[in-house]
C-alpha cells in the first residue's frame, strides 16, 4: 500500500516563495545556480571489513556504501553469472523523518533504481564472478547506508556505490577437495571487473523552474523529481520520475539537457577520487 505522505514537514508558503524569488534571479539559497550540483567529496576504502567502500558527501548529504563479497550460489536462471544485490536502509540517525524498521517504499525505490541503472548496462561484469558455473559464484552485497539526509539520495548513493564497486577487491580462494571454496582473507585479491561507469543525475521541478541536485527542502516543495542514469558514453541507462507531479515534454527536455552537463561533473568527481 503506497500512501500519500501525510507526515512530511511542511515548508511554509512564504519560504517557498522566497525560494522561487531566488530562482527567478538564477540563484539558490546556498548561492548555487539552478543547474549546478553541490560540492562533492568522494572517499574510498573507508571500511576495513568490506571488500569495497566509499563515503560520499554531496553538500550536507552523506552516504556510506559497503560492498561485501561472499561465496554463494548463482540464481537458477543465470548459472553463468555472479549475484549483485543492492540494498538501501533509512538509517534513522540520518534524518528526523526516518523511523527504525524495514526499508519503506522510498528506500526500496532508491535501491531498485540504483540496481537497475547498474544492471541494464552490465556495469559490473557478472560473468567474471563465476567460480564454478551453476554452483559457486561471488555474491556482491552492496549496502547503501544514508548517514545524513539533506536531499538527493539518488545521486549521492549512486556516486558512492560506483566508487565502492570500482575499488572492490575479490580475495583469492582455493577449491577444497570437498568442493567447498576457501576464501583467503588476507590475500591481496584482484580488482572487481567494471564494464561501465554509471552516474544518476536528479533534477526537480519547482514552480516553473528545473533545478539540479535538490536539497531536502527543495525536495519537499518540488512537484516531482526526474532521475536519469548515464554511462560514460552518455547513453541513458535508467530513468525514474519520482513524486506525484505531472511532467511536460518541454520540461523533460530541459531536464535532460541540464542532466547531461551535470553527469560530466559527477564523472569527473569519480575520476579524480584518490584510490
Amino acid at each position: 500500500m503506497s500512501i500519500t505522505p501525510f507526515k512530511m514537514p511542511v515548508i511554509p508558503l512564504i519560504k517557498k516563495q522566497a525560494y522561487l524569488n531566488l530562482y527567478e534571479k538564477g540563484l539558490r539559497e546556498d548561492g548555487r545556480r539552478l543547474d549546478k550540483p553541490r560540492n562533492i567529496e568522494v572517499k574510498v576504502g573507508v571500511l576495513d571489513k568490506a571488500e569495497g567502500s566509499a563515503l560520499v558527501k554531496l553538500g550536507n548529504t552523506q552516504v556510506l556504501v559497503g560492498v561485501k563479497a561472499e561465496v554463494g550460489q548463482p540464481f537458477k536462471d543465470t548459472p553463468d553469472q555472479g549475484v549483485l544485490v543492492v540494498h538501501a536502509e533509512n538509517v534513522p540517525l540520518a534524518s528526523p523523518i526516518f523511523e527504525p524498521g524495514p526499508p519503506d517504499e522510498n528506500a526500496i525505490e532508491l535501491s531498485r533504481v540504483v540496481d537497475r541503472s547498474l544492471r541494464e548496462v552490465r556495469a559490473v561484469d557478472l560473468e567474471s564472478l563465476v567460480i564454478r558455473p551453476g554452483e559457486k559464484v561471488w555474491n556482491l552485497w552492496v549496502d547503501i547506508y544514508v548517514l545524513d539526509h539533506d536531499g538527493n539520495l539518488f545521486d549521492a548513493s549512486m556516486l558512492a556505490v560506483m566508487a565502492a564497486l570500482e575499488t572492490t577487491t575479490l580475495k583469492d580462494y582455493e577449491e577444497l577437495e570437498t568442493g567447498e571454496i576457501l576464501v583467503k582473507r588476507d590475500s591481496p585479491g584482484a580488482k572487481l571487473k567494471i564494464n561501465h561507469r554509471v552516474v544518476t543525475v536528479t533534477t526537480a521541478k519547482i514552480g516553473n523552474y528545473i533545478i539540479v541536485d535538490p536539497n531536502f527542502e527543495e525536495e519537499i516543495i518540488a512537484d516531482y523529481r526526474l532521475v536519469l542514469a548515464f554511462d560514460e558514453n552518455m547513453r541513458i541507462v535508467g530513468a525514474q520520475k519520482t513524486g506525484s507531479g505531472g511532467m511536460t515534454l518541454k520540461d523533460f527536455k530541459t531536464a535532460l539537457k541540464i542532466s547531461k552537463e551535470v553527469a560530466q561533473i559527477y564523472f569527473k568527481a569519480l575520476e579524480q577520487t584518490p584510490k
Binding site: 500500500m1 503506497s2 500512501i3 500519500t4 501525510f6 543465470t78 517504499e105 522510498n106 526500496i108 525505490e109 535501491s111 531498485r112 537497475r116 544492471r119 541494464e120 548496462v121 512537484d223 516531482y224 526526474l226 554511462d231 552518455m234 547513453r235 541513458i236 541507462v237 535508467g238 530513468a239 525514474q240 520520475k241 519520482t242 513524486g243 506525484s244 507531479g245 505531472g246 511532467m247 511536460t248 515534454l249 523533460f252 535532460l256
Partner: protein, 244 residues
C-alpha cells in the same frame, strides 16, 4: 532485460514474434463496473495481460490519524495474484510490488481532485490476474477507469503503455517475452488531455534519440488508449440510460 536473444524477437519480415508491427498495440479490452461492492471498478486487458482495479472511497480512513486537513490521501496497492505468473508468486508483497504501488500512486495523484475531499482516503486496488508484460501500465489504465467509474472527479483520464527496444528496434506495448529478452523497457503513463506525463521509467539502455522517439510513440499510443477508455465509460452510461 538480460539473457541472450533466445527468441527471434524481430522476424525477417520486420514484424514482431507475435506478428505485430513495431508500433502496433496488442488487442485492448476494457470494461467498467465489473464489481458490485467497490465504489468503482474496471477490468483491462492488453493482449494476455489482465488487470482488475477497484476503488473504495472517498471514505473515512481505517486509521483516523492518516489524513490531511486540506485534501484526500490516495492509497494504492499494486498486487499480483499468485496464479498470474509462470511460477506461482508468493502472496506477500515483494519489493517490486512496493515500488510499483508508489509509481502507480504518483501516476494518478496529480489528476485526481484530492482537495475536493479533505480528511478522507481514496483506496485504489490494482490486482494483476494475468501477467504478460506491461502490468503496471495496464494497471494505471484500469485504476484511472475505476476512479472515473467511482465518480471521483479528475482533471483528465490517465493511461499507460510500455515502449521497448528489441533487436535494435523500438516497439510499442512490449509483452513478457520482449521484456525479458529485449534491450530496454520504458513504461510511460500520461494524461494527454492536459499534456502531462505522470509515469516515466526506463529499465535498459537507450540513446538520446531513441528515448525521444520512444516517448513520442508512447504518447501517441496513450491518446489512443484514452479514447478506448472513454468508449468504455460511454458504454456504461448508455447501459444505465437503457435501464432507466
Amino acid at each position: 532485460m538480460g539473457g541472450g536473444a533466445k527468441a527471434t524477437l524481430i522476424r525477417e519480415d520486420g514484424l514482431r514474434h507475435d506478428g505485430r508491427r513495431p508500433e502496433e498495440l496488442r488487442p485492448i479490452r476494457m470494461q467498467v463496473g465489473v464489481l458490485a461492492n467497490a465504489s468503482g471498478s474496471a477490468i483491462v486487458e492488453y493482449g494476455k495481460t489482465r488487470v482488475l482495479a477497484a476503488v473504495y472511497g472517498p471514505r473515512e480512513p481505517y486509521q483516523r490519524f492518516m489524513v490531511l486537513p486540506d485534501r484526500a490521501i490516495l492509497r494504492v496497492r499494486y498486487h499480483m495474484a499468485p496464479f498470474s505468473t509462470s511460477e506461482r508468486k508468493s502472496p506477500a508483497p515483494s519489493r517490486r510490488e512496493i515500488e510499483l504501488s508508489k509509481v502507480i500512486r504518483e501516476a494518478l495523484e496529480d489528476v485526481v481532485l484530492l482537495s475536493e475531499y479533505p480528511r478522507t482516503a481514496i483506496d485504489v486496488y490494482v490486482e494483476v490476474l494475468q501477467a504478460d508484460g506491461g502490468t503496471r501500465v495496464a494497471g494505471v489504465t484500469a485504476a484511472s477507469l475505476a476512479l472515473a467509474d467511482a465518480g471521483v472527479p479528475m482533471k483528465a483520464l490517465v493511461a499507460g503503455v510500455a515502449v521497448g527496444k528489441v533487436g535494435g528496434v523500438l516497439v510499442l506495448d512490449v509483452d513478457e517475452l520482449e521484456d525479458s529478452h529485449g534491450e530496454a523497457d520504458m513504461p510511460v503513463a500520461a494524461a494527454p488531455d492536459i499534456g502531462l506525463v505522470t509515469m516515466f521509467q526506463l529499465n535498459g539502455v537507450l540513446s538520446e534519440d531513441e528515448l525521444d522517439r520512444g516517448l513520442s510513440m508512447a504518447l501517441t499510443a496513450i491518446e489512443k488508449i484514452v479514447s478506448i477508455e472513454k468508449e468504455a465509460l460511454k458504454r456504461k452510461f448508455e447501459a444505465i440510460g437503457e435501464e432507466v
